[in-house]
């Protein structure tokens, strides 16, 4: 049975359950002088949920198990005896057989796949029917169970509330579980990488050239220090040299000096800046800022000035982060009680003295937390460096020189034709893991600082 038809059937059952639950509830409400905890529509929804949710849950589980069951069935047929031993080829033939079974017009590549296809079709339709029938039975059983529970004293309203809460919980768990899954896969691939490359070579090696890897000693050309340096130099130094002063000053202007009317349009404008896709900043960095800086570098006689400089990527990244720093600093300054400001002004301090001597020191932990979050965003930023930074992994203090970052290298490593288990590709996962750990630590520190600071004033 096709899935869409099945879903229609389930939905239809749900509608029937809703209507009949409602009718039953309306029927017993005719008795006068009684108070009911739930309205007819609550009873209806209760019945509908019991009808729809069990088959859907079952189908979700079944969808994960059925292909495996079908493959097991196919493997028991005589034709499957000719399959090669478990491995890539065997998986490819099986997956082709499955594709042929689903789409008869497909031209087969492997004759064995053609022979296995009918068996596959049989098995799939068998498990499809089993699954569909079970789902419908579950739906009917659930609906009947709910329908029979509908009585005048039955509190369908709270039950619905509980179901709603459970679905909200499930929705939030999905995000957390996905994160855990991503981290687990990162860990797994990194572990494979560190199986071939010693972790010390990776973390402390100063030579990075993944294009030329010596198979006997892959660690020698996979030392990530130049990448860490480039990431730090672009994201935490150059970008912050732009973002911190300008972000802070715009926050001070907005909170302390701007008239409400000016603030009302300036703050959203700044926030729009935060909504510009990073790829647009990337264009800007690569096409405008990079060449301009190279000319400047050449003009003032800096050796090795390139249009793919650390400065170009860092400056544009800094501009991108300004709204973020500004909004964090804005929150931190606004959280300082106005009594502090009044106290200072009443002493005869000017607004700027008040800001630099009272408000900023008081808001400092919040500002520092915001800056740490901004750094963590900057070092995770990919698009600008992919477009504006070069791939050359050098350790240099000269901002006009080329530099590369962890994210840029991950992109380079994964866009290519290398097989998926070469040290080169796996290095991308190790880099991702390192980046993840660093940003996670930064975020934890930043949020702790911000939180402790908030508590100080509440």
């Amino acid at each position: 049975m096709p899935t869409s038809a099945l879903l229609f059937l389930v939905a239809g059952l749900g509608l029937i359950a809703w209507l009949s639950g409602r009718v039953r509830a309306i029927a017993f409400r005719k008795a006068p002088g009684q108070r009911f905890s739930s309205l007819p529509r609550h009873h209806g929804s209760f019945a509908a949920m019991w009808t729809v949710l069990p088959p859907l849950l079952f189908l979700a589980v079944w969808g994960a198990c059925a292909p495996g069951l079908a493959t097991n069935g196919v493997l028991k047929t005589p034709a499957a005896a000719q399959l090669p031993p478990p491995g890539f080829e065997r998986a490819a033939i099986l997956s082709e057989a499955r594709a042929i079974a689903n789409d008869h017009h497909r031209t087969p590549l492997n004759p064995l796949a053609t022979r296995l296809a009918p068996a596959y079709a049989v098995e799939q339709s068998r498990y499809g029917w089993i699954g569909g029938a079970t789902a419908l039975l579950l739906g009917i059983a659930g609906g009947a169970f709910a329908f029979l529970r509908i009585r005048p004293g039955f509190n369908a309203r709270t039950r619905i509330e509980r179901i709603v809460m459970a679905s909200l919980l499930a929705a939030s768990l999905i995000a957390i579980l996905t994160t855990i899954g991503i981290v687990a896969s990162l860990l797994f691939e990194s572990a494979r990488f560190f199986g071939t490359v010693p972790i010390t070579d990776f973390l402390f090696g100063r030579h990075w050239s993944p294009q030329v890897i010596d198979p006997r000693n892959p660690g020698a050309s996979l030392g990530a220090v130049p990448l860490f340096w480039g990431t730090f130099f672009i994201g935490a130094v150059i970008a912050m040299l732009v973002a911190i002063p300008f972000g802070l000053m715009s926050a001070i202007y907005l909170t302390q000096y701007a008239s409400p009317r000016l603030r009302a349009w300036m703050k959203p404008t700044l926030e729009i800046l935060a909504g510009v896709p990073t790829v647009v900043y990337g264009y800007f960095a690569a096409l405008v800022v990079g060449p301009a800086l190279r000319q400047l570098g050449v003009a003032i006689g800096i050796p090795g000035a390139t249009s793919e400089s650390a400065l170009a990527a860092g400056l544009v990244m800094g501009v991108m982060i300004i709204p973020f720093v500004s909004s964090m600093a804005d929150d931190a300054i606004a959280a300082v009680p106005s009594a502090m400001r009044d106290g200072s002004l009443a002493m005869g301090a000017t607004p700027s003295e008040t800001i630099s001597r009272v408000l900023l020191p008081a808001a400092l932990p919040g500002v520092v937390g915001g800056v740490l979050l901004a750094i963590s965003r900057a070092i995770g930023e990919t698009m600008i460096v992919v477009m504006a930074a070069s791939g050359a992994a050098t350790i240099s203090l000269n901002p006009f020189n080329s530099a590369t970052t962890v994210t840029k290298q991950i992109v380079d490593l994964l866009t290519g034709e290398a097989s998926f288990d070469s040290p080169k590709t796996l290095a991308a996962f190790a880099l991702g893991m390192t980046l993840f750990v660093i940003t996670l630590l930064l975020n934890i520190i930043a949020l702790t600082v911000v939180k402790r600071y908030r508590e100080a004033y509440e």
Binding site: P337, M340, D342, L345, M347, G348, A362, A456
Partner: protein
């Protein structure tokens, strides 16, 4: 309205002062004199405009964008709202203590040194030390904090914080000190200490205390002004106001008919 018997030695004078917040008039047509070496109490029910009027005296209403002040306020004959009046200097001469103690999140020493530092009153570290000690001593706090001047001002008790704020205000050697309900956030013992302090300070400064506590006004002040609904109802010797008020509204208020 102004009592003829107290028309000498005015530190500050206010004539026909009105304050609007946007379109709402908060106080109307208040005329009053603040005397040197005296404590003047502003009493009245909540929302009567006494705090608003107090804040016009050192132009703290300037920090509220919608506030507008009309009328004439003078400090030693100088127009406080004149264009050439330097607000920074004005507030150094007319200090303020707030309802809720608001020490800066700095050390006790730095809290007191804040004003002298921004106004450049100390020529050396030793000079600053003297100013800090003298201010804390006048605020009656020196003995309690002299061994922990580097502790945070916010770590003190509420009453100590308020005395720290008074020390901070007198560190810049003001001529007038405005106190906006300085005891309303304090317990009775801390309140008693502040009142005692006000007594001791009155010889050096003109002090204005806003309070909704009539006993407090009677205890600490020599002059009392009664505000009601944004109007100055009666102003005179504290003893007269409390024993023999001329206005019926004042009598009703001090006998507890409303408030």
């Amino acid at each position: 309205m102004t009592d003829k018997t107290i028309l000498n030695d005015h530190k500050m004078t206010a004539r026909n002062v009105s304050v609007w917040y946007g379109a709402v008039q908060a106080i109307g047509d208040v005329s009053i004199d603040i005397d040197q070496d005296k404590v003047t109490a502003f009493i009245g029910p909540s929302g009567c405009g006494k705090s608003t009027f107090l804040r016009t005296l050192n132009r703290m209403n300037d920090t509220i964008a919608s506030a507008r002040v009309e009328g004439d306020i003078r400090l030693d004959g100088e127009d406080v709202y004149a264009r050439e009046m330097d607000v920074v200097q004005l507030r150094a001469r007319v200090g303020m203590v707030f309802q809720k103690p608001n020490p800066f999140p700095k050390s006790i020493y730095e809290n007191v040194a804040y004003g002298p530092r921004i106004h450049g009153l100390a020529s050396s570290k030793a000079d600053m030390d003297r100013i800090v000690e003298r201010s804390l001593a006048r605020a009656g706090l020196w003995g309690e904090v002299k061994d922990r001047l580097s502790d945070s001002g916010t770590a003190l008790s509420g009453g100590q914080q308020q005395r720290l704020c008074i020390a901070r205000a007198i560190a810049v050697d003001p001529e007038v000190i405005l106190m906006d309900e300085p005891c309303s956030a304090l317990d009775p013992i801390a309140t008693a200490k502040i009142e005692e302090l006000i007594h001791e300070l009155k010889g050096r400064y003109a002090i204005v205390v806003v309070t909704h506590n009539m006993q407090q006004a009677a205890r600490v002040s020599q002059r009392t002004a009664f505000f009601h609904l944004g109007q100055l109802v009666e102003y005179g010797q504290t003893s007269d106001i409390f024993t023999n008020p001329r206005e019926e509204r004042t009598r009703d208020y001090i006998t507890g008919r409303y408030g």
